[in-house]
């Protein structure tokens, strides 16, 4: 290995480099925003939609449909980024600490704020106060279904069978878990929860007879229900669902279990009013398109395009109710 020759140039280079670095940092400062950001009227750059669930699930599909429509309205591209984990808590944490400039927004689930806090320590819970709600989006109800081979047709049938029911849920701290746990407890059925990471694997396990029943969002199960592969046992809404008019609610079957999932568009706390107004306007215009309405139908979603205040009220009421019921039955949702 030959040694490199020392040249005055080498020293000179170092000095020049260091000086240039210092000079530039002193007067410049470092930029990170992508295109355009800063000058001009919002939005000037890409608006990132992050999703706290893996691609293909309801939240992801809704985000993509909304992002697509809003992209047209706002005239910028709206990349959708999946950041799955902990029922969206990881994504929420990231959004919460993002810059409140309207360039990073997310569709979030009610269950993250109403149910997840019941399963984790208070400091870990995501709080709605950390976000600005822009608008409600849609309701997505749960259905408990079983494989057509099981022979069950109602919650009562499961009780009659007398065996331990193994039920799939879409994860710890989700509405699916809460609805199932409340149902089995209030019906006095012996049951074990098997948490999966989202609706798709819970559905797959049910179709493959790995579990006896699964509770999923309607959109995830409806195709297989129509095809006769799955038999719906109950829905957990107040009234019957338009998409499954023949399926009795849990209430009708005598169990006071009311759990629904709804979603709303959020931005980090402190997002400027004009930015929020612009986003709301774009969302409303998207809701009004035929394309988006058709999307809702295809995915069995009930529109819930309400004001931020109504979203907040609903969240508060649900939280209080779930807490009371869990205490009453002595259910712990954590592992």
């Amino acid at each position: 290995m030959p040694t490199s020759r020392t040249t005055p140039r080498r020293v000179l280079m170092g000095v020049v480099g260091a000086a240039a670095a210092l000079a530039l940092t002193a007067c410049g400062g470092v930029k990170t925003t992508s295109s355009g950001g800063g000058e001009g009227k919002y939005p000037t750059g890409n608006i990132e939609f992050s999703v706290g669930a893996s691609a293909g699930g309801s939240t992801d599909l809704i985000t993509r449909a909304l992002a697509q429509g809003m992209s047209k309205e706002l005239g910028v591209s709206t990349p959708v980024l999946n950041k799955p984990g902990a029922n969206g808590a990881l994504n929420a944490k990231e959004l919460q600490s993002a810059k409140a400039d309207g360039y990073k927004i997310a569709v979030q689930n009610a269950s993250l704020f109403t149910i997840t806090p019941l399963t984790v320590s208070p400091e870990e819970a995501t709080k709605i106060d950390s976000f600005d709600v822009i608008t409600g989006i849609s309701r997505d109800d749960y259905v408990m279904a079983t494989n057509s081979q099981s022979g069950f047709t109602s919650i009562g049938d499961m009780k009659k069978s007398g065996k331990t029911i193994r039920y799939g849920t879409t994860g710890v701290g989700t509405g699916a878990q809460l609805a199932s746990a409340l149902t089995f407890k209030s019906a006095g059925i012996d049951a074990t929860a098997v948490p999966f990471d989202g609706g798709a694997p819970a559905l797959t396990a049910l179709l493959g007879n790995q579990v006896d029943v699964s509770t999923m969002q309607i959109g995830e199960a409806i195709e297989n229900i129509k095809a006769g592969k799955l038999v719906p046992l109950a829905v957990f809404s107040d009234k019957r669902i338009d998409y499954l008019p023949d399926v009795k609610t849990a209430k009708e079957q005598g169990f006071d279990v009311l759990v629904t999932q709804y979603r709303f568009l959020t931005a980090p706390k402190g997002t400027p009013e004009d930015v929020k107004a612009r986003l709301l306007d774009a969302a409303k215009k998207t809701f009004a398109t035929d394309e988006y309405k058709k999307f809702n139908e295809q995915n069995s979603l009930t529109p819930m395009e309400v004001s931020p205040q109504e979203v907040l009220t609903a969240l508060q009421q649900d939280t209080a109710k779930y807490k009371k019921q869990l205490d009453e039955f002595g259910i712990s949702l954590a592992g």
Binding site: G85, T164, P195
Partner: protein, 515 residues
């Protein structure tokens, strides 16, 4: 069988953007196949962040193109310089270089290109026919089966590697342990996070792959491993004569079959199949002494087989969700990043991805055949670029690429950390491959086995009484006990004489690569 999804797949591939990604993939693949240094694994790892921005089908088409394109590229340096650009082209050196010395380098390259094309195509046909059949059993795969498959995958990769088995298994286990960092999906408990928010989300696959495969390779190569400089070789006429083709015909056919079969086996892969195909041809030849002195079959067989295997190794990935080798583990990761879980459900849930990727291989192979013959001269020129110039550029792509994934400097430090780990592992005889692979499969194994235990009511015998998981676990046992079995088999006489011919002793450096 319903062929409309297959035809739709062709529609997807023929979209101009996908054609371009396919073209980019095979060109990049050929380039890195030619260049000693970066292997397809390292390249795919480095390019992973870019796949973030493009759709899943395009991303996988491109990454797949890199993988099988590298098999073509590796031939060129083997033949012209006795320098296998890829581990899977090592045997091509013997007869390829001998042919080159006879002034028939062109013939060797031509035969290799034709063989590669045929091998690849046969394998895709097999993939097309076989994959949906395997996928038909999809619903029978529940958590216990996935758990068993995951264990089998980790075990196979650790036991069929090149190095010390014990070290490989330790590396794999460390990979499994690293995968547990972060929040537990069952209880929400934080594991090994030491209170760090960055770790609460677990460790991302991209920095691990980029560090252990990409950066470690560069750091390792900094220690001057290339002290051979070659004179430029003459290529000559690339089109093989009728006589040469006739000689190679059988070898190409058998190479396709061997490559397809060994590629499907997890852990088999391109390297193994090229070696096996060469050994097989030599054994059945009437004049085995011709081998090593410029036998056309000696080029045709391994080159056909490595391409066939590269293609068929997609079968376990796309149908069962088991990556057959470290490169497949990266593609597995790329699919996960895109929100697609490879497995039995893939063909029904994402037919666009499934058939798009498979059919892109037909197109990619045609592109490679068209390119490889006229462009041989161009690729040979690349060898004149000094690795010292490429290294800093690659490093910069790696580090800035890691940053772009989540826009966090933390990820750059992760890449550097894992780069150092990978470098030390290589120096100390640990392969990074099993670690990365186990890291990918870890969550699947853990979640599935915990779900299974819940389903079984805590009774672990359930794993063995279900037909599929039981069979898979029996396979796990066979693999685990393989050293003993093979010892018993080897006691029989007539070991296969597969050593290379005494004449040209192979002196140039062969790259240590991630397979």
């Amino acid at each position: 069988m319903d062929i409309s999804p297959i035809l739709d797949g062709f529609g997807i591939v023929l979209e101009p953007s996908n054609l371009i990604y396919c073209l980019i993939g095979v060109i990049v693949g050929m380039l890195i196949g030619v260049l000693p240094g970066l292997g397809p694994g390292a390249t795919i790892a480095i390019l992973l962040p870019i796949t973030y921005g493009i759709g899943p089908v395009s991303a996988i088409i491109m990454l797949a193109g890199i993988f099988y394109g590298a098999q073509y590229g590796g031939t060129i340096t083997s033949v012209l310089l006795r320098l296998p650009g890829e581990a899977s082209s090592v045997v091509t050196v013997f007869d390829g270089f001998a042919l080159a010395r006879k002034g028939k380098a062109g013939t060797a390259l031509g035969i290799a290109a034709i063989g590669s094309f045929i091998g690849g195509t046969v394998s895709i046909l097999g993939l097309t026919l076989l994959a949906p059949i395997v996928a038909g059993f999809a619903l029978d795969f529940g958590p216990p089966e996935y758990a068993a498959l995951g264990v089998l995958g980790v075990l196979l990769i650790s036991s069929i590697g090149n190095g010390n088995k014990l070290k490989a298994i330790i590396a794999a286990a460390v990979g499994l342990l690293i995968a547990t960092v972060g929040r537990d999906t069952f209880t929400g408990a934080e594991r090994f996070t030491f209170g760090s928010l960055n770790l609460a989300e677990g460790i991302d696959f991209i920095p691990i792959a980029m560090g252990l495969f990409g950066l470690s390779e560069i750091l390792y190569n900094l220690e001057e491993r290339h002290n051979q400089v070659h004179a430029p070789a003459k290529v000559g006429n690339v089109w093989p004569s009728r006589k040469d083709l006739g000689q190679a015909k059988g070898a190409i056919g058998r190479g396709s079959l061997i490559g397809f079969l060994l590629g499907v086996l997890p852990g088999g892969g391109a390297t193994l199949s090229s070696l096996a195909a060469y050994a097989f041809e030599k054994r059945r030849a009437k004049q085995p002494e011709r081998f090593g002195k410029g036998a056309v079959e000696g080029v045709a067989a391994p080159e056909t087989a490595n391409n066939a295997a590269a293609t068929s190794s997609f079968i376990p990935l796309l149908t069962l969700g088991i990556p057959a080798n470290a490169t497949m583990a990266l593609i597995f990761g790329a699919l996960l990043i895109q929100g697609i879980q490879p497995g039995p459900q893939l063909v029904t849930e994402h037919p666009d991805v499934f058939w798009g990727v498979i059919n892109s291989m037909y197109i990619g192979n045609i592109l490679l055949l068209i390119m490889s013959i006229p462009m041989v001269g161009v690729f040979v020129k690349i060898l004149r670029v000094r690795p010292a110039i490429l290294a800093p550029i690659t490093v910069l792509i790696t580090l800035l690429g890691a940053y772009t994934v989540r826009n966090q400097v933390y990820d750059i430090f992760l890449v550097i950390g894992f780069g150092l780990l990978g470098y030390l592992m290589k120096k100390l005889g640990f392969e990074p491959g099993p670690l990365v692979l186990a890291f990918v499969l870890g969550p699947m194994i853990e979640n599935s086995s915990r779900q299974s235990l819940l389903i079984f009511g805590g009774d672990p015998t359930g794993f063995f009484t279900r037909p599929i998981s039981g069979t898979v676990l029996a396979l796990v046992l066979v693999v685990a006990l393989w050293p003993l079995i093979s010892k018993a088999v080897r006691r029989k006489p007539a070991p296969v004489p597969a050593g290379p011919p005494a004449d040209p002793p192979v002196e140039p450096p062969v790259e240590e690569k991630t397979p």
